[in-house]
């Protein structure tokens, strides 16, 4: 299987091939495929939402707290906004924040983590110290700290402050992961070999380490993106976000704040919760799928006579005893 992957990639040196082949590998895994389809659907939803949202999502122009109807597919909020328009229009910023935090946070984690894992002892100690400081200080505190610092700038900068806060509070976990795998890879013979033949540190990092940890990078990206999306909600919740923006985070914030779940306004609280869950779920599926692709021993193959095996082999959970 692996052999074939490599060969397929080698045959297709064109740019198109470079994009399509990894995609084929991705789609060969059931979980990754499901996650991918969900994510693509969400992205389409978000793009369409920018152009076709039925009403202005921020205007308070309708009857308040109305249940779903033909005119208002998901009803209206207690302030008289159209919930569906909010959901539709708010998809893009939600996804955008998630991805931005995922990409930028992962980049920072990689840079910091790998340089800590593959630098001289002294640099390693210093950087590890910094990572630990960020890990020890509770995220809530960091968000409050940086949040209040950025608060004054909010209006003009749009989502930038929120993204920055989430990156600052979200990179350290990944950095610690990258540091520890880099440390273990750096001791492997194939890296020592490169040191012996005279490769520079940078060359080893870019040519070998990044490739070796690529599956972890991808999985870290989804993890951080997940943090970004969830973070959008609790940044609002801690009162350091901009509550006038429309996204699934602020929607949830207002819904919960107005006790929509107590007043029976399920149409206000369920849609954003549902959408966030779907997004999380697609991230998780992609993450698991990637793990399986990177780690073939987790894979299961299709078998025509699996039942037959079961019969002969008997119980599958007896451990090999010595």
């Amino acid at each position: 299987m692996k052999m074939e992957e490599q060969e397929v990639i080698k045959d297709n040196k064109s740019l198109l091939g470079k994009i399509i082949n990894p995609l084929k590998i991705l789609l060969s895994n059931g979980k990754a495929k499901a996650g991918f389809i969900m994510l693509v659907a969400l992205i389409l939803f978000a793009i369409l939402g920018q152009f076709f949202s039925p009403y202005n999502p921020t205007k308070y122009e309708f009857a308040r707290g109305m249940p779903p109807s033909y005119a208002h597919l998901l009803g209206t909020t207690i302030y008289g906004q159209d919930v569906f328009s909010q959901l539709f229009y708010g998809a893009a910023p939600t996804l955008m924040v998630g991805f931005a935090v995922g990409v930028l946070g992962t980049l920072i984690s990689i840079a910091v983590g790998i340089s800590a894992g593959f630098a001289s002892e002294r640099v390693n100690t210093v950087i590890t110290g910094i990572i630990n400081i960020f890990l020890i200080i509770p995220g809530v505190l960091l968000i409050m700290l940086f949040g209040s610092f950025f608060l004054g700038l909010h209006q003009s900068l749009g989502y930038l402050p929120t993204i920055l806060i989430l990156i600052i509070t979200g990179w350290a976990f990944g950095a610690r992961t990258f540091r520890s795998i880099t440390l273990s890879i750096a001791k492997r013979d194939f890296i020592l070999s490169s040191i012996l033949i005279g490769e520079s540190r940078l060359s080893i990092i870019f040519r070998q380490i990044i490739r070796a940890i690529f599956p972890v990078i991808i999985s870290n990206f989804f993890f951080t993106a997940m943090y970004g999306t969830m973070g959008l909600t609790f940044v609002e919740y801690l009162g350091v976000g901009n509550l006038l923006q429309v996204n699934w985070g602020t929607m949830l914030y207002w819904a919960i704040n107005n006790e929509a779940y107590l007043t029976g306004m399920w149409w206000w609280i369920l849609p954003p919760s549902f959408m966030i869950s779907i997004l999380m779920f697609s991230f998780i599926l992609l993450n698991f799928g990637m793990d399986e692709i990177g780690n073939p021993s987790l894979r299961r193959f299709k078998s025509k006579n699996k039942n037959e095996n079961k019969k002969i082999i008997g119980d599958l959970d007896v451990n090999i005893e010595n």
């Binding site: 299961r300 193959f301 078998s303 095996n309 002969i312 082999i313 008997g314 090999i320 005893e321 010595n322």
Partner: protein, 327 residues
Amino acid sequence: MEVNHINAGYESENGYISVLKDVSLTVNRDIILGIAGESGSGKSTLAAVLYNSFRYPGTIRSGEVIFDGKNLLKMKPNELRKLRGTEISFIPQAAMNALNPVKKIRLQFYDMMIAHNIKENDFDSKISSSLELVRLQENVLDNFPHELSGGMRQRVVIAMSLLLSPKFIILDEPTTGLDVMVEHDILLDIKKIQRTLGLTIVFISHDLPILFGISDAIVMMYGGEIVESGDYEDLLRNPAHPYTYQLLKSIPLIGTKIDSSMIMKGIAIDFNHIPHGCYFHPRCNFAVPKCSDIHPELKQTDGKTHLYRCNRYPEWSRNAKLEAIGT
């Protein structure tokens, strides 16, 4: 133990890959049976099948393993569980690296006895007698696996397998990765334990020198088939299959100088591309054209117990002897 017509392999993306092909063998009581072959010849697969611990993606297509009159492969889980450890035990390849790293050795011994409902009063006596067999001091019990050397860990694993006094033990590459001194000591101990307790041992290794040194009978595997089997001495003095002959010749020995005729050409078989005819023909020094067409059956030599699978025996062996005299 009697093994009949085992066919087993692995499920893969490209479908089922057949590894063991119609493997039948008999393990007599009170001997060490050596199973030899290069890595990837199907030895570990066979070991797992013998213990019925072959798991997905591994698949057993057909065959039976008769142990004490019963088919192991058809046993119920709880029957198997009762048998394992007490009648038959298995030390898989690299088991010494598979000890639980966060548990002291003592607890790992206890766990095993608890699993078999041994009375608590017997714990210590059982442990100390099995440690004595492998010449370990009792203080290893209070160590974690990583605090022990490779040789000691291997001894611990052997002691565990002896704990419930089974009569039949399967050892897969028990000394691979250890250095020659430690290996030698452990082999001596295995032999001694086998002789004094009257055990039956299936000893699997790719390392011909030690395998021939320790076994009473030997089975040579190539490409998932048995290509030769018999008494160790017959195989050593009069190999009937060129594979055995060429392997024995390629063994580095003290006091000889290197010689390119010792090189075994080609590489071990690839189960995705099995050659036609005799599986060994691409690497055989004695192959003739018919070898790439005719797949040889397992035949008997004059001695009743010596089996081989070659189209050209004893012809090739005479040629080899002539050559040896010529040079």
